[in-house]
Amino acid sequence: MRKSTCLLGALAVLASAPAALAERGSDGHVNIIYWQAPSTMNPYLSGGTKDLEAASLVLEPLARYNEAGDMVPWLAESIPTVGNGGVSEDLTTITWKLKEGLLWADGTPVTSEDIIFSWKYCTDPAGGCAQSEKYNDVTSVEALDDRTVKVTFGVAKPFPYGPFVGAQSPILQAAQFADCLGAKAPECTDANFGPIGTGPFRVTDFRPNDVISLEANPNYRDASKPAFATATLKGGGDATAAGRSVLETGEFDYAWNLQLAPDVIANMAAAGKGETVSAFGTLVERIEVNLTDPDPALGAERSTAKHPHPFLTEKVVRQALSMAIDRELLVEIGYGSAGRPTCNVLPAPEIYKSTANDACLVQDIEGAKKLLDEAGWTVGSDGVREKDGKRLSILYQTSTNAVRQDFQALIKQWWSEIGVETELRNIDASVFFGGDPASPDTFQKLYADLEMFANNFDGTDPESYMANWECKQAPRPETQWQGNNMPRYCSEAYDALVAEMAKTGALEERAKLAKAMNDMLMQEYVLIPLVDRGRVSAKSNTLGGVVLNVWDSELWNVADWYRVK
């Protein structure tokens, strides 16, 4: 028995070794399916994860995070630190050095000009950049030589790895995007759909919200990679179809983010064509409360700070909504082992995790009723609470997804028990997360009272993530509706904490600040966290080299993927 196991092991090594050492393009074609279809390849113009991840096949940052959450140099030679002299003693500058001989897919060299350009592109005052918080406090980026850039911050930056690190702030080619600065950014369709990058693949055909065809980048820095000559990233459909296409029929090799009921996944995996891969990160399914008035009668000013919400600005109401929710049950229904109930919007890494809000783990319908009673909200004849002519009637939106619709139905029932009337709306995920400023249905516009989605941050440092709820991050017409502060939360105390974290160096101090910010958001109930979600994706049994990474793009190491023969 043991002999045969050894033999099998040896065979496996023999079988996988040639694959791993293969020539570029020797493994043919890889099919990837994202059930949310990417609508752009330019991560600076979209907050959607699907767009970021699709772009990560082509565009790369200077450094990114590996599966353990550690930073690894990517286009840079090494990670600059105070120790190696890359970060100045006063924590205001960081100096990056590009690897030698890097080429763009079109054969031109990557230079420090491109890095400078990427910063200018995202920080152009006339344009809405979805990732502008990555460049907070950067005052200048200058070239020391062709391969070296120095980033200077206006304040001491204890964590200077915001700009150019992670899938959210990759390097764009200056030559290609030169005419696409500011307000013209969304108009450069060719560049946005087919950016020239340094990554393992380059785009051959991009159909927005549908299919991306790619081929191996002939100028990729490692001559033996990627193993696949061509790749297809198919977008659209739903999570069920995506899961089935990998686990059950084997048509696709990799399916992203299978947000499906646990028993459904188990059933598909029984077919034996593939397996699920999972890991826990910072992804939290949450309800974000709109503190501004989404009344359509307000026209272009709806959901902006000019008009506060008629009743959701009252903390008691938000608190009651949170108390009425049974998070344990939501996990059981929707995620099984791929989720756990949470009361924090910042659930990981461990040092940042607050325990101050754990009371929310227990559902308390009676308590919620009492709170509303005390605040003067009385139950009207139709069972809906009223005060001063205002009814607790809310519109609750999310993306189209079976688990989310089940959550909506359950939560609606709990809320009806405490006297809140809920109308549900679900929007196609490609539109909802698409970030198109012309669409009324994006999650940034939030033309509803509440919305539910999941979000996380890449990397392990929560500074820029927590900065999402600064006043100035509120999506509004002036920012082309970009920004991540969906509740339009605006508190001087919170902004002060953000500013303080930006100049604090010691890790324990930073952890304390991050916890304080998390607690502030939680105790104000502007965010109602529901479930801490593990990432579940599926890969075919014939696809090797997949390392699921919750701290960066899932496709971060696609150059190392190969066909198991």
């Binding site: 009921a261 059933n267 229904i333 089940d406 909506q408 359950l410 109308e423 196609d428």
Partner: protein
């Protein structure tokens, strides 16, 4: 057999109206009678049923989720413990209401445009180009745009469910009248040259009376047939919209929505797909049979044979 019935009827009863004849013929179409019986049953079930089966279709009983058929839940429960029978009944109300009203709207518009363009030469060109225009429009993208533009206005005017109901009925009706219009126009063009119409014209019948008295009764059969197909089409389009998340709110059951929600569970609980699927197909089939029977009954050449 038919002969015998016919002669006895003629002998013993007072003068017969045309509609009695039609009914008499209709009665002998077995498929149509079956279809009619089933359609009436479905109508009764979905509109009167909820008074007998009083479980709230939106009530979630989480402990009773994913149950099979039992006395408490004859069709079982869904993944959240909502009663499937109650949801089928509530869903049927919406689907049938949408189907029938959208069909009526399409019928009125289609017949009107068909008759006008067939009868009046001057209107023929413009109206048929309009029809071509509508035929060339891609239906689904058009629906998406209309819904996106008018959803909020209607929602605030009529509330979420009624607003969407009007919108969907209007949108489906306004995009499915073209076939009817074309068929009717063709028939009217042919009828216009028939002797009885020319004779009627020669004694000075006004166009309005002509259409009402001579043209419309003769094009009734194509209209009825396209009406029956229209109901089916409307139910299916409503399902497609629900599928895209643009129809009614997600917890508001319609047959199309029930079908869509259950596709995830197709393997474990096939009955959840079968019930709404069966309801949709049987309704559509029964309506088609009724249409078939009507056509036969309305055609004087077939009647009495």
């Amino acid at each position: 057999m038919t002969e015998a019935v016919h002669s006895t009827l003629v002998d013993k009863t007072e003068p017969r109206s045309q509609w009695l004849d039609v009914w008499d013929q209709f009665r002998h179409h077995r498929g149509a009678m079956l279809g009619m019986a089933f359609f009436v049953f479905i109508l009764l079930a979905v509109f009167a049923g909820p008074y007998l089966w009083t479980i709230d279709p939106q009530y979630i009983d989480i402990r009773a989720r994913s149950q099979g058929p039992s006395w408490g839940h004859p069709m079982g429960t869904d993944q959240l413990g909502r009663d499937t029978l109650a949801r089928m009944l509530a869903g049927g109300q919406v689907s049938l209401a949408v189907g029938i009203s959208a069909m009526l709207l399409a019928l009125v518009v289609g017949a009107l445009i068909g008759v006008l363009s067939g009868y009046f030469r001057l209107l023929d060109g413009p109206l048929m180009r309009l029809t071509d225009l509508f035929l060339a429009l891609p239906l689904l993208p058009l629906l998406l745009v209309i819904i996106m533009l008018f959803r909020d206005t209607l929602r605030s005017a009529f509330g979420p469910e009624t607003g969407i109901f009007f919108l969907i009925v209007f949108v489906i009706g306004i995009t499915s009248w073209m076939q009817t219009a074309r068929i009717v126009r063709g028939d009217v063009l042919a009828l216009k040259e028939r002797e009885f119409v020319i004779a009627s014209k020669s004694i000075g019948t006004s166009p309005f009376r002509m259409i009402l008295r001579h043209i419309l009764p003769n094009v009734l059969s194509p209209i009825t047939v396209s009406a029956t197909l229209g109901i089916a089409n409307a139910i299916i389009t409503e399902s497609a919209l629900s599928f895209l998340g643009l129809g009614f709110p997600s917890d508001f059951p319609t047959w199309g929505r029930l079908l869509y929600d259950s596709t995830d569970y197709l393997q474990q609980y096939p009955e959840r797909v079968i019930w709404p699927g069966l309801a949709i197909s049987l309704t559509v089939l029964s309506v088609n049979y009724i249409g078939d029977g009507f056509r036969d009954a309305l055609d004087p050449r077939i009647r009495g044979r």
